[in-house]
Symmetry: C2
Subunit: 225 residues, 2 copies
């Protein structure tokens, strides 16, 4: 993902069109359903020329990225991480703020996954987390690798929560049951047993499990030093 400055076509300091600024544009954009949002529809709503808009926003994709950055930054603050009493709580606080940040994007979250370095938009939580890990005695290399893994895990979990909300169902077990129903009942005995068990991997228990996996092994990394 590009920085906010790169997404805006011209620096704001160079002069702004009378009666129109980026905040107004984003506010109006947020009132649209994502599927209805285009630069033309937005210009119509703001009662400005399409060209006046493109002075601020290059294209539809940039507009979606700007909306995603705004929404994410509103939720992703470094406060919880900086206030954590130890490195374990710091990692947990980072995960919580990261997941709630992605979830707040709703339909825009889809524009994030391949859009890239999301964590670099807000520097404060990442700086606070690296400070806590160094203080605890982690090597910088282990810290980078841990934070990378944690971000992947959080992004994946947020995706599952959003998918569950959209579909009102758990898509993995539904797909699995659909596949098994087409086959003889004697095949795939492990998958049959698993599907009957009905473990919900779309709820907070899954994130808690994944955090425990990371925290336990991270403790061992520290102890081995």
């Amino acid at each position: 993902m590009k920085s906010k400055d790169e997404l805006i076509t011209s620096p704001r300091a160079q002069g702004q069109r009378a009666g129109l600024d980026l905040e107004q544009i984003l506010e109006a954009a947020r009132s649209f359903r994502p599927e209805d949002l285009s630069l033309s529809a937005l210009a119509l709503k703001l009662k400005v020329d399409r060209k006046a808009l493109s002075y601020y926003v290059k294209d539809r994709k940039s507009l979606f990225q700007l909306l995603a950055i705004e929404a994410f930054n509103g939720h992703f603050s470094g406060l919880g991480v900086a206030e954590a009493v130890d490195w374990q709580s710091a990692l947990k606080a980072y995960a919580e703020t990261f997941v709630s940040g992605i979830i707040s994007l709703g339909a825009f979250a889809e524009h994030i996954w391949f859009g890239d370095p999301l964590t670099m938009i807000s520097l404060d939580p990442v700086e606070a987390l690296f400070a806590k890990l160094k203080e605890a005695g982690f090597s910088d290399e282990d810290s980078v690798r841990l934070v990378t893994m944690l971000s992947t895990v959080c992004l994946g979990h947020a995706r599952d929560i959003l998918t569950y909300r959209n579909n009102k169902s758990q898509s993995r077990p539904i797909a699995l049951r659909g596949a098994l129903d087409k086959l003889a009942a004697t095949q795939y005995e492990n998958l049959h047993r698993i599907i009957e068990l009905g473990v919900n991997t779309y709820s907070v228990e899954q994130l808690d499990f994944e955090m425990e996996i990371i925290l336990n092994s991270a403790s061992r990394l520290l102890a081995a030093k």
Copy 2:
């Protein structure tokens, strides 16, 4: 992601248009660059009516998903998992085949992340993995949660490898350096130190690290029983 049957508009057994079948369609589709691929362009190439195509493939999105399934299944076999000597090797074999499966999708991988239960397309590797985990003594709930976590980690790593190939650069450190360069050098001392260290989280060392985190904690889950 829907099953292959759901993506095809009509069951093939009901009758096929003379001179056209799904394999032919997919083979022709694979010769396009993804950005140039549409049902109309495909119909033109196959010298058939657009309607004859829609007998097999509902829309462009379904076509992309079919291509992704075909490519993924070609790489995601259960062999390595079933032949593994212990549960650790089984998890590693699953990760390897999963990552190489996603990477083989190339530009189509983007259609996977929010497209859903990818792992359910090929049942064999998942069945083999659950069998190995049960044999080792894992509870079924722990197995489901472990395999879910592993799939997320593999998908995230495959995305990084593809991003690195596309951009010929590591986008996270580039974005971070860009952000830091705009700020006073005295701010964010931890991030400055981290960026100078230059750890590459886009290479196989990152997946190895993440596998070790998972395997170490999984051993403790077993030992605690």
